[in-house]
């Protein structure tokens, strides 16, 4: 009887410990989802701002249609990757978009009237602020992915993770040359 009670108590503790591990794995998974959703919101906001920027630029940059088209194509790729929930593809499309934006702002240097335009300045400010927030959120997303992936591989969590099919998440990575955040403001100093 006493042995049975002791065994029961030990099993109860093991079960409670397992429940804590499980709950924390769920919390980590939800954290990753939430942090991705936070990036998603900002990328969509920027998605809405880019056509306004391109339209403003079109008024002044008659001979730079290729640059503007590149930006719009990259914008579409980011949007499609977001719709498909493909993190890797979002990273690649973002790299392309950032390069396109970098090119656009560099070319804008040759158009003083565009630079002086109030709506252009407003859009640059807005996009800069969104880029800063995206950079912060991406950092946070990658940190939560790292934490989650480490737990999924770490003993004793991996026993629960394997049993309940917790899988690793994908980091949001931009290519090497684009890892430094686009600093739009610096292009105009």
């Amino acid at each position: 009887m006493v042995s049975f009670l002791i065994l029961l108590a030990v099993l109860g503790l093991i079960f409670a410990y397992g429940a804590v591990l499980y709950n924390h794995l769920v919390a980590l998974r939800e954290n990753v989802k939430k942090n991705w959703a936070n990036i998603d919101v900002l990328l969509k906001q920027r998605h809405d701002e880019l056509p306004k920027l391109v339209d403003t630029c079109k008024e002044y940059m008659g001979y730079e249609q290729d640059t503007l088209r590149q930006v719009m194509e990259a914008r579409t790729r980011v949007s499609q990757a977001l719709q498909n929930g493909d993190v890797g593809e979002v990273g690649k499309a973002e790299t392309q978009l950032r390069m396109g934006l970098g090119g656009l702002f560099a070319v804008a240097e040759d158009y003083p009237e565009l630079k002086a335009s109030e709506s252009f300045q407003h859009l640059v400010k807005r996009i800069t602020s969104l880029e800063e927030s995206i950079a912060d959120r991406r950092e946070l997303y990658n940190a939560s992915v790292n934490l989650s992936n480490i737990r999924v591989d770490q003993f004793p969590d991996l026993l629960i993770a394997r049993f309940f099919n917790f899988i690793k998440s994908e980091l949001l990575e931009f290519s090497e040359e684009e890892k430094t955040d686009v600093n739009v403001k610096s292009l105009f100093n």
Binding site: I6, A9, L28, E132, D136, L140, S144, L147
Partner: protein, 303 residues
């Protein structure tokens, strides 16, 4: 060995009441150790599992922030016993009764302070937080220390413990982050009432302004016109208010998730909690083993 033999004999031969008291005490001790082990473990894991956010971009919700503690503008926060300027304090007063210290008073600061990192700042509302301060002062006194709050403890054997979080200490906070926009507090009706009450204070100016037929009193139409202008003014003020940036506050979550503050970076803080969990787990195993042992001694025949 002799001790264990005597202990075993005592347990086996003790009367039922004595055994129940001893067993009950062990049970309570075991329960506390289990609770503490799990609590610290959950706190440590929560801290490890939530990445550190930046103050400027911290989302609305459960977040972890790291930065330097600062006082808010206004009167400084001063610890009540020693008068030290700090951002947070807590103290206990214990009185010696026979050979034990008995707690007679405990108070904790709930004053707001600021956490500032490289990107921005966030107000910390410490009410309901589990704080793990590093800085403390402990002293004993037999007589009054000349501290007003200590008046009722004159003449006894008292031990004072005061804990602090100091300005500029690196702190880690995990809790619920909310932005309180100025507009959230805005009430159109109340603002309109206040503005009209304000205008009514100066009847001469009110009549000069709105008495269009110059009869020296405000009739219903004139008063309606005054109200319409007041409404426009309130709407304009509301618009201005909406543009005011909100105030970020980190505080206690409404659910059971931990709200923790410590003057450590996040990983050292998690390590500290892990050690506490491990310590409690060791006590749990030790007390659990003793408990199992006495059960086996007492009811060995039924095993």
């Amino acid at each position: 060995m002799d001790f264990f033999n005597r202990f075993a004999n005592n347990i086996a031969s003790s009367d039922t009441q004595g055994f129940l008291i001893f067993g009950g005490a062990l049970c309570v001790f075991l329960g506390v150790a289990i609770y503490r082990a799990f609590r610290y473990m959950v706190q440590a894991r929560t801290l490890e599992d939530v990445p550190t956010s930046k103050a400027r971009s911290a989302e609305q919700g459960y977040v972890e922030l790291e930065g330097r503690a600062e006082m808010l503008e206004g009167p400084p926060i001063v610890s009540p016993l020693s008068g030290r300027e700090c951002v947070w304090w807590s103290y206990t007063v214990e009185r010696r009764s026979s050979n034990e210290w008995e707690r007679v008073e405990k108070r904790t600061s709930d004053s707001l302070f600021l956490l500032r990192d490289a990107t921005g700042a966030c107000i910390v509302d410490p009410e309901g937080a589990d704080v793990f301060p590093k800085q403390k002062r402990i002293w004993n006194a037999n007589k009054s220390l000349g501290l007003t709050t200590m008046g009722s403890y004159k003449g006894g054997n008292y031990r004072y413990r005061e804990y602090y979080l100091m300005p500029l200490e690196l702190i880690c906070v995990i809790g619920l982050h909310k932005t309180h926009a100025a507009i959230d507090e805005w009430d159109d009706t109340e603002e309109l009432r206040r503005l009209l009450a304000d205008w009514k204070q100066n009847q001469v100016e009110l009549i000069n302004r709105f008495d269009t037929n110059n009869d020296g009193v405000l009739d219903q139409d004139e008063w309606d016109a005054a109200r319409a202008i007041a409404r426009e003014q309130v709407a304009l003020e509301k618009h201005r208010h909406a543009a005011t940036p909100g105030v970020n506050v980190i505080g206690a979550p409404p659910d059971r998730r931990p709200f923790l503050i410590a003057p450590l970076d996040s990983s050292d803080f998690a390590k500290k909690l892990r050690w506490k969990a491990a310590g409690s787990a060791m006590v749990m195993v030790l007390v659990g083993s003793v408990f199992a042992y006495i059960l086996a001694l007492r009811y060995g025949g039924q095993v």
